[in-house]
Amino acid sequence: MKRLYHSIIKETKVIIRDKEALLLLFAMPTAFVLIMSLAMKDAFGDKGNAAFSVVIIDNDRSVVGETVTEVFSFIPAFKVEMALPGGITDPVKIQDDVNAGRHKFAVIIPEGATKGAVRRIRQQLAFTKKGPAKEVSIRLFADPALRPDQNHLAASTLNRALQGIENRLLWEQFGEVSGVTPQGSLKETAEVLRANKPFAEVYPESPASNVQGAHKRPPMPTAVQQSVPAWSLFAMFMLIIPLSVTFIKERQQGALLRLRSMPAPAWVIICGKAAPFCVINQLQFVSMLLVGIYVVPLLGGDALTIEGGSYAGIAIVSMSASLAAVGYGVMASVFCKTAEQATTFGGTSVIIFGALGGIMVPKFLMPPVMQKITVISPMGWGLDAFLDIFVRGGGVRDILTASGALLIFAIACAITAGARFKYLSR
């Protein structure tokens, strides 16, 4: 035990004194988490619970204005902000705001819109002989950065509201003619419109979980939910560079030879080496979590939330991912002859594993074939497990398969490394 303790102390000192390695292990993932969480924020914005902000300028303050406001508030995809009378109602200013993306949509309802609508209906029903009534002009501005389907959603919501209003007004005018007038004033009509539900109303739902294939699609994380686990895993595996470089240097400089001439068991030497790296891995992960929770929101991104997810699950995944990374590093150390080889091979293989594992491009954005390919990357297993916890609120049971796979990978690496080492030192 004394030997193990001294091994750990020594390895820790060696690592801490290697400033470049620390930079690689901590500064790099922090930068990635920050950049990706902020840069990808909008790309992920329609996912999760982020809603489009819609500013409604209601100059009408009657049935039309109130109903439109009501309908937009009712749909979760929109977050209604009212431009209060006396606030910014200047259409040019509003358009500027929308163009700059401060609001995703703006709806401008002109003064007297309700009166105009009633006039037009009465004229269509030929209750009045006055000349053709002007069409009411309601305007919808959309952020030019939005996708056509997103624009379409806002337009059809608005049109649906207008159609409802028209039907209601029509019915009311008929009532007047036929003598059945349940409601007197327009104000009361608005109340009725609000209370009355259409004959059918459809909401999107997820297929029941027992329907085949329901759970197979990858979860859709927010930018920060993706970046934190992804780049933590990436950095954890990047550890193979300092790990194998120190190991190879130890070999080349003869220190390993000296150690092997000593009566210290091999496991002490290996564990003494691996343990500090596992601790570094955990520190990396925790610091990335903290960056996600506290730093990203400071810079205007969404904060990382873990509510519902299992902390034990997170710990298990991060431990097993760390063992996989260390195992992989030990294997690379044994197979690479020089530190340069280890750096090149280690760095490249981690980047490829990362790309295949959905680190750089989130899995849910990949076409199905590529999604299938992600199974070959241990980083992909770790990422899937983390997303299960962060996005779906998964627990320990949900991540056992992935953790098990990571542990098996770690063991396989260790065995391969051991066999190769035996072969080389025959």
């Binding site: 000192k13 400089q253 030879l257 000593m262 009566p263």
Partner: protein, 316 residues
């Protein structure tokens, strides 16, 4: 097994995976307790491999090895406890301080507590590194690193110390310092096995040596005996100008000459009848209008012994 032998090896053979010839091809060693034993050989001769086998780092493909009465195949851990190895490379951690290096290696040898501290201080003192104990090794000169590497092999007071070319690349002062320290340790009872390709250091340090080349021992025994046995056959000649190729060939073709080595204005030949060969050489030089500046026969240099044993091919 003889009772006074602490290392006894028989027929050690070792071929590295993928190599086309064995690095060690049947080596026998008998090293007495308390000896200062030299293993001499050119680059690639198999010195390191032999040492690795004797210090338990590597298993021979075949052969028997007995160290202090223990069988290397069965009592490896015990053997490791009584041997110290100073590898060919410096074998210390550059980013650790001298003291941290010694503490670590001491701990890995199984020392702890006060004994570890005492030994570390003692070793620092032996290497005259006490004032630099808390400086990182990467700031040390080559000689300082070597001295640290040497004492790192002594930390656990081994009975046998294996040294693999411990003086490569250091200045004469540090080299002399290491010689003196080793002599002291040897006279206090430690068995030392020392490899080198420097003739003169083996000559001053070791009473007994083996000379190996291409994985086999080509000569062994007391240095003095060996010199007497072989040096008489070697002639060293210094000229005023480098001999032309044709002359070199004539020298090599002289009767009784079995090897000749040319190096700029000097050359060395081995002859079964040196007196006759000296006459032949003088005649040849006169014919070629070259002046002999010096001619030496029967000197004690191991350098010449080495050439006489391994021939000119050696320096290829």
């Amino acid at each position: 097994m003889a009772h006074d032998c602490i290392i006894e090896a028989q027929g050690l053979v070792k071929t590295y995976p993928g190599a086309d010839r064995p690095a060690v091809a049947g080596i026998d060693l008998r090293i007495k307790k308390g000896a200062f034993y030299g293993v001499l050989g050119p680059n690639g001769a198999g010195k390191t491999t032999t040492l690795s086998i004797c210090s338990g780092l590597m298993r021979p493909d075949s052969g028997l090895l007995d160290i202090a009465g223990l069988d290397i195949r069965k009592d490896l851990t015990e053997i490791k406890g009584i041997i110290g190895l100073v590898p060919q490379e410096t074998a210390v951690y550059p980013t650790l301080t001298a003291r941290e290096n010694l503490l670590y290696f001491g701990a890995m040898q199984g020392l702890s507590g006060d004994r570890l501290k005492t030994r570390v201080d003692y070793c620092l003192d032996v290497a005259r590194l006490t004032p630099l104990a808390d400086k990182r090794v990467e700031t040390f000169s080559g000689g300082l690193k070597r001295r640290l590497s040497l004492v790192a092999g002594l930390i656990h007071e081994p009975k046998i110390l294996f040294l693999d070319e411990p003086t490569v690349g250091i200045d004469p002062q540090s080299r002399l310092f290491i010689y003196e320290s080793l002599k002291k340790m040897n006279s206090s009872g430690m068995t030392i096995v020392y490899t080198s390709h420097y003739m003169e250091e083996v000559e001053t340090l070791c009473a007994e040596i083996s000379i190996i080349d291409r994985g086999v021992i080509i000569a062994e025994g007391r240095v003095d005996d060996m010199v007497i046995r072989h040096s008489g056959s070697v002639i060293e000649v210094r000229l005023n100008a480098p001999p032309p190729e044709a002359l070199r060939q004539k020298v090599s073709a002289l009767p009784h000459v079995s090897g000749a080595l040319f190096d700029a204005k000097t050359f060395t030949v081995k002859s079964a009848k040196p007196q006759q060969t000296i006459g032949d050489i003088m005649r040849l030089m006169e014919e070629s209008n070259l002046n002999i500046l010096s001619l030496c026969h029967g000197g004690l240099s191991l350098e010449k012994l080495f050439i006489s044993l391994t021939g000119a091919k050696l320096r290829e």
